[in-house]
Symmetry: C2
């Protein structure tokens, strides 16, 4: 029997699993990324965790055939992370080479969002569809585009950078250097910023009470939760978020015309209040024919999407 | 020897060619579309023209193996034109079926822009690239997206509708029903509208002189020609056009990250004044990494792109 390691490296946590040939997760765990100790130290810790999982499963290290890894940043040739900005591991970071040296296994690396999209496409919410787009919304936002069952990588690994589409040229400066990117509105950070902006002017509302007037405590979840319970002030913020989200989504629909859109990530947990808001505005931004048979739904695999998608990079079909 | 017919049906003209197995055009001609006489009459006239070309080449009708056709509108399964709006031939127009009945040949149908992109990708400016986007700019604007050598069709045939990305939600009403579509700015129609708007306020300029004050005579070419000769008033209009074009292009780059962008169609004849203007603004809308190795150039095949791309639909690889 052949086994595979699926690893999803995030800014805060690394999700690690051991899978069989059918991409069933036999065992998984989560460790802190602690990237500040450098890439080598981090990768050794990750690999030690894989070995520990294998031991618990009574699988010998030898039986692990290959390793698939998802990592933030544009990835070229399933190998090099062009900009590993999240980790200060520099440009052209040779993730595949490093993990192959440490593990002695064959390794393939993919961009984290694309790997999550692959996981949902092969094993989750997009299983029945050839053309899907999976959109994780958390600290940032991006799109994993699957066309005819294949991830769209882009020539430099930079396809799917939905978060950096400019939706307001007079808007906020974005970390990427551009101004008015979708991500400055449609992310946990974005909705919190909008919330704070409104709370600074209006303190007579439920949201202000909920955080005891401490704006630094405000989280996206507070806003969505209150919106769900019918609070008008919070509904206004969610509405603002959803119109921008519909604008970004409309562009994707007009350009790619997928069968299904899947929202995932922390902000997607807001659920129907998010979907209803987006649907309210979508027809303002998307051609009718792109919405005709479109499904919009949520990811089914949560953190397992990254593990399974990463492993799928190396599991033979 | 096997021969193929390549047909590109446009709003005004139909380009028709007979090609060999290597997609070399042996003979070609152009006829008026005259779609108002109905689809059957039009298709019969087209087929008669093919037969006439064959006769001139001393090829028997029997030797024509298959027919490829490009036609405006979203095309599903190389067969049905979902909305044949340009011709008032109704929805779900069975183009393949009709031409097969008339010609007795095997027929494949593709969207005109996608077929042009395929032509440039296989035989023209994008020959060396796996990931290209061809953007014809004329009365309207759209994008033919090629990823890994394959046309991106979209689930309902509606991928690449770049012209209907909303770039100004307070802008002009578009024929598609949306408001502020890119096409309302970045098309021959769009630049003429902007020109007229400015000429109504300012008559003391070269452009006004060139058209003898008859605003109804203004064409896109007048504006681009004067801009090229250094006329400030016309440069201002071209600049306005180019910033919107850069905005649309930036979105495409961030989402698809292609290797090469190819402009073609009537407006592309403006040449470098267009490219220089777009490049001036592109870094405001596209992520740096999507521009790193990007080539931007012009189509090489002109009207032959449609003929060759259409024939490529049916020529065996």
């Amino acid at each position: 029997m052949a086994y595979f390691a699926g690893i999803d490296i995030g800014g805060t946590n690394v999700e690690i699993g051991i899978l069989d040939e059918k991409a069933e997760i036999l065992k998984k765990t989560s460790i802190k990324t602690n990237s500040q100790n450098g890439s080598e130290e981090t990768f050794i810790r990750i690999w030690n965790t894989v070995k520990q999982l294998a031991e618990e499963l009574k699988i010998s290290e030898r039986e692990i055939e290959a390793v698939g890894m998802g990592i933030p940043g544009p990835v070229v040739n399933n190998s090099i992370v062009k900009i590993a900005a999240n980790f200060s591991w520099g440009n052209d970071f040779p993730a595949k080479e490093l993990m192959e040296r440490i593990s002695g296994k064959s390794v393939k690396v993919g961009n984290d969002v694309k790997v999550i999209a692959l996981g949902e496409a092969l094993f989750g919410a997009a299983k029945e569809y050839k053309n899907s787009i999976t959109i994780p919304i958390g600290t940032g936002i991006a799109a994993g585009i699957i066309i005819n069952g294949q991830i769209v990588e882009g020539s430099g690994g930079a396809a799917g950078e939905l978060g950096h589409i400019v939706v307001n040229k007079n808007g906020y400066k974005c970390g990427c250097g551009l101004t008015g990117c979708l991500e400055t509105y449609c992310s946990a950070t974005g909705i919190v910023r909008e919330g704070i902006k409104r709370l600074e002017k209006d303190k007579n509302n439920e949201l202000y009470k909920k955080i005891n007037g401490d704006l630094s405590r405000l989280e996206a979840k507070d806003i969505f939760d209150l919106a769900k319970s019918g609070d008008k002030f919070s509904i206004g913020i969610v509405d603002f978020f959803c119109e921008y989200m519909a604008e970004g989504l409309g562009m994707l629909l007009n350009i790619v015309n997928p069968e299904i859109i899947i929202f995932t990530g922390g902000v997607a947990r807001a659920g129907d209040v998010l979907l209803d808001g987006i649907k309210k505005y979508l027809s303002k931004y998307a051609l009718g024919m792109t919405m005709e048979n479109l499904k919009i739904s949520f990811g089914e695999l949560n953190e397992e999407a990254g593990i399974k998608g990463a492993a799928a990079l190396v599991i033979k079909k």
